[in-house]
């Protein structure tokens, strides 16, 4: 098994991609209008202060010098300090990334669990009333803007009933307050996730259910339920993993609107705020972390896929 070789070669391929991305991001940020040295002082900007900050942050240096300086820092895992808060960037980015995962992973799992019954029921009786209804429901779920669901839930659960906090991340990890503040944003994401997963699962289940080996399984005397559980679902779940990868990429910044609605300090929120504040180094760090994360997720999905599908895992040992 040369899974290790595969992983190594994938990582080697990924390095130039990430390198290219850092250059693109760096150049793109340079054309951002607005001078951070002045912006940061707000309304009381003085030319002296601006000149001082420009020099201090090296904004007067030529582009390539700044890039090399930045890159050598990155390679030592030093992303510099935020122009806005003057705190070291890396710990900030990492804690925001962790918060995004805290929101995203339960949401992905919840969405998938919800999607399985929907997709299965839909696929068993295609074009039935239940199927049409759940297809429509899935499309509606996909079409509702996620920040609006968030807003509606805030209106109902927080303003009307007052049972859950409106926004923010309260308490410490695993505390009741933290869990309470997680509920609404997670549910908002679950709705979209379940809708997407349900649609994918329905179509892959439909495909699998009409495969011949399902007939073999039934001819053995397995009940429809067992056939679905042990034969159809494991086969239909493979495309599902591509979907999980898509969701994970989503979690890496794509949930910015949810994080904005619920003031959830995730990586998307940090990116958005840093772009608004012209906090270049933080934007750069976020972008690099997101791109690296996406790359790792893709790699993980491919490895999982190979692991789950023996036809890929044993490629090359065909019909020995």
């Amino acid at each position: 098994m040369n899974m290790m070789d595969y992983v190594v070669s994938r990582v080697l391929q990924g390095i130039p991609l990430l390198f290219g991305i850092t250059i693109v991001i760096f150049v793109v940020l340079m054309v951002l209008p607005g001078d951070p040295a002045r912006l940061i002082q707000g309304e009381h900007a003085t030319p002296e202060m601006t000149a001082y900050l420009t020099e201090k942050w090296g904004l007067d240096q030529p582009l390539h010098i700044r890039y090399v300086r930045w890159l050598s820092g990155v390679l030592r895992l030093d992303f510099g300090r935020s122009l806005w808060t003057n705190r070291p960037i890396l710990p900030t980015v990492i804690s925001h990334l962790a918060n995004s995962l805290l929101l995203g992973i339960p949401a992905i799992i919840g969405g998938a669990l919800l999607a399985i019954p929907i997709g299965v029921i839909s696929a068993i009786k295609p074009n039935s009333k239940t199927d049409s209804l759940s297809r429509l429901a899935a499309l509606v779920g996909l079409s509702i803007p996620i920040f609006w669901t968030g807003l509606l839930m805030q209106l109902f659960f927080s303003v009307r009933l007052g049972v859950l906090p409106v926004s923010g991340m309260a308490g410490t990890l695993f505390s009741v307050e933290r869990i309470q503040s997680l509920i609404l944003p997670v549910v908002a994401v679950v709705i979209v996730g379940a809708a997407m997963d349900g649609r994918v699962l329905r179509s892959s289940m439909l495909e699998v259910i009409n495969k011949e080996f399902i007939l073999t399984a039934r001819a053995k005397g397995l009940s429809m339920r067992e056939v679905l559980r042990t034969h159809a679902l494991p086969n239909a779940i493979l495309p599902f993993f591509t979907m999980m990868g898509l969701h994970m990429r989503m979690v890496l910044g794509g949930l910015v609107v949810v994080e904005a609605v619920f003031a959830w300090p995730g990586i998307g929120l940090l990116f958005w705020q840093s772009v608004s504040n012209r906090d270049y180094p933080t934007v750069q760090a976020c972008a690099l972390v997101v791109a690296t994360g996406v790359f790792l997720v893709n790699l993980l999905v491919d490895i999982t896929y190979a692991y789950l599908d023996p036809r890929i895992r044993f490629a090359g040992t065909e019909g020995r």
Binding site: A219, G221, L222
Partner: protein, 334 residues
Amino acid sequence: MGLTGGDGVRDGDLQESILGLENLRTCFYTQGAVVRAVDGISLEIRSGEIFGLVGESGSGKSVTALSIMRLISSPGEITEGRIIFRGVDLVELSEEEMRRVRGDKISMIFQDPTAFLNPIMKVGKQIAEPLTLHRGLGGSAARSTVLELMGLVGIPDPEQRIDDYPHQLSGGMRQRILIASALACQPDILIADEPTTALDVTIQAQILDLLRELQRELGSSILLITHDLGVIAEMCDRVAVMYGGHIMEVAETESVLGAPQHPYTAALLESLPQLSQSKERLQVIPGNVPSAVTPPPGCRFHPRCSYTEAVCIEKMPSLVQLADGRQVACHRCI
């Protein structure tokens, strides 16, 4: 009338009927049309025999097999008739009761072992499924039985192969896996639907040999479905010829192949190169397989038959037993 002569007397208990189809009719409902894929057939399969069901594609052979398994799913349905297995009408059984018959008392193997095996389940597990389900075998007991079965069906190195996935085996080996899983519970009847069609010629012979050997060893009856008269000649004790959802002729294999009474059987034999060596050219039955949606009136075969008379168009002939014990559905033979 010598009709009472042969039947039931000759071989006594050995010839006891194990499965009887009585006027079985299976229909498919598609876009306003009703297709009678199996149109009122009666058959009897005896204990310990290999019974052949032969016919062109679209004649209703496979639907017959799936009807016996009660695996016809919507838009198809068994609309009429009885399937008597050991005195019990399978049509009347609940789905739950029928599940206990499938894979245990009656099991089935299919045409294309590649498509009919689950690609992401280890072959050992696939063989073990009926054992776990019907015999409650699990863990090491199931494993050792599976190894035994794999040896029985001629898979070399069962220990090596038991944890393989289907794509790691050759086509012939895959068919052996399907056979092993079908025979796991020593069923009374094995239904084999074109078991060799998807295989290489050399492998075909091996699989047929294996089936015959296993049938002798286990004493199961086999319902062998095929379009290949050569396979019938080699394998079957008795054979039924099917055409357009009807049974045309049923008899001992030698008499059907040696002296066919039904014009369709005769035509089918004519089209077979090995058995009609005297002929210079291969004869092809003129005309097409009848439309299943709007079948011809009277005898299904009359548009292609060279002996068609007025009565053939008016009336459907029923299956009648002749003096030598064979049954034929043809106005000419009465």
